[in-house]
Amino acid sequence: MNLSESPLINQKLAVDDHAQEQLHNLKHADIIIGIPSYNNADSIGRVIKAADLGLAKYFPNRKSVILISEGGDHEKTRNAVNGLKDKNYFEDSFIAKPEFETEVLVTQYRGTSGKGTAIKAIFEAAKILDVKAGCMLDADLRSISPEWIELLIAPIIYKEFGFVAPYYSRHKYDGTITNMIAFPLTLALYGRRVRQPIGGDFGFSLELIESLLSKDVWETDIARFGIDIWMTTVAICENFRICQSFLGAKIHDAKDPGNDLSPMFKQVVGTIFSLINIYMDSWVRVKGSKPTAIFGFESEVAPKPIDIDVSNLIDKFSDSVPKYMPVWRKVLAPENCKKLEEVAKADPALFEMPVDLWIKSLFDFSIAYNLRTDGMDPAEIIEALVPIYYAMTASFVRRTQNLDSYQAEELITQQCSYFEKLKPYLVERWQNEKKGDM
């Protein structure tokens, strides 16, 4: 597509001027692979190689572009890309080079700093190039293989899906925000079982990105870590055809939830809560949940073990009780607040957060965030949920410490069914609050 004809021309684009010019010169591509990066120059080479080989192996006749959208040290990333220019890896792996050599471009995205804006720049490039399909890959992936490209792109090109969510084998303690919040809430609220709704590696159609780009969210928390759950929710609620692709193990720079995940937690959960309000008409009517087709073969892989410091999580919860109790009293239903106080007083050796209390707390917080702030800032409300999440995570680790990943997965499935069973609690409280507002 000529840039002058692009409907994006009147907007402030996230993709920088130099990259726009390069895209303009390319005119068109069938496939785009986007790699949002923040100072991932050390690991990005492997992801680019896998993407390039995957395109050559599975889509040799398609014109393709790989675009790295960098939010950090642009020059370092460009140097890493230039280091791969000779494409020696084709000879080493005896894959024939494709009919059209894949272009590898780097853009230093503009706008709100965060992963969402990096992705926006890639979406804009996809629209300028008028691609048929694309996929996004995390820049810190160590387990990627060229097969991922087929698994994420083929369902879009050949089966006309709009969104391909990843399906990974993960260690039982990897992805605690996914397991405790994003997966069960997506399932219970919107009725679709998408196992990794905040997975960073996904496939998309042009129609989906046109819908996403048209929404006025790019200056909010969605433009940070909220982007993944937002895309999944939009795809579900706006009836795009969704599937999952089994990608094997996800090995990346995983983090202990007690140490690193607080900003991510706030942005992801803030987005989930905002979406609950936006798509209220959809989820109120949904009963039960549907499975989502999985492409690829679910092989036995052993994800790398992750250590979680349970005592640290329990201490963080207990230490925060005096600070957050005033907020909890405003946010939680009185019976839930009382139960939480009892949990906090328990002997750390016997510490346990009941699952139903966790679910009702999440529901209470979503209501307070959207409908009953009592003069509190929404960010303050989310912050007060973090210690309860630590408590739930500690409890989950305790319950699953002697279980293997498959058994832990069964427990997560069981917890999801509690979310579904307790959904009427949310519906009733939400509607009562709404009535109270009128």
């Binding site: 192996k57 792996s93 293989s145 073969f297």
Partner: protein
């Protein structure tokens, strides 16, 4: 007509096991213990698919894969190795699929079924 599979593995027990498993699945199975025999079998038997071990004395599986790709580009090849390192360094990417050996060969059988269903 039954599809024919060539199993290339230096370990006799693995060859026997795969012959039994894949015959039960309804395939004709022929075997080769090294690269030289494998190429003779490819010419003589015209298999529909090859399963290929990597670590073998003499010519290794990657070298055999390279030669297959130079001559029989479309012949489906599944790497069946006890090691996953060749998958993670992309050196076996020219194969159609890479399976880490397991006791029940379930993934291998599923992949064979999937690939041969595309071929037919």
């Amino acid at each position: 007509m039954k599809k024919k599979i060539l199993v290339v593995d230096d370990e006799k027990n693995i060859r026997l096991l795969l012959v039994e498993e894949l015959t039960d699945e309804g395939y004709d199975v022929v075997t080769a213990k090294d690269g030289a025999v494998a190429f003779e079998m490819i010419q003589a038997e015209k298999p529909d698919l090859v399963t290929l071990d990597i670590k073998m004395p003499g010519e290794d599986g990657l070298s055999i894969l390279r030669k297959i790709r130079e001559t029989e580009y479309d012949l489906p090849v599944i790497i069946c190795s006890a090691y996953s390192v060749y998958k993670s360094d992309f050196s076996a990417v020219a194969a159609n699929h890479y399976v880490t050996k397991s006791s029940d060969f379930e993934e291998l059988k599923n992949k064979i079924r999937e690939i041969l269903s595309y071929e037919s």
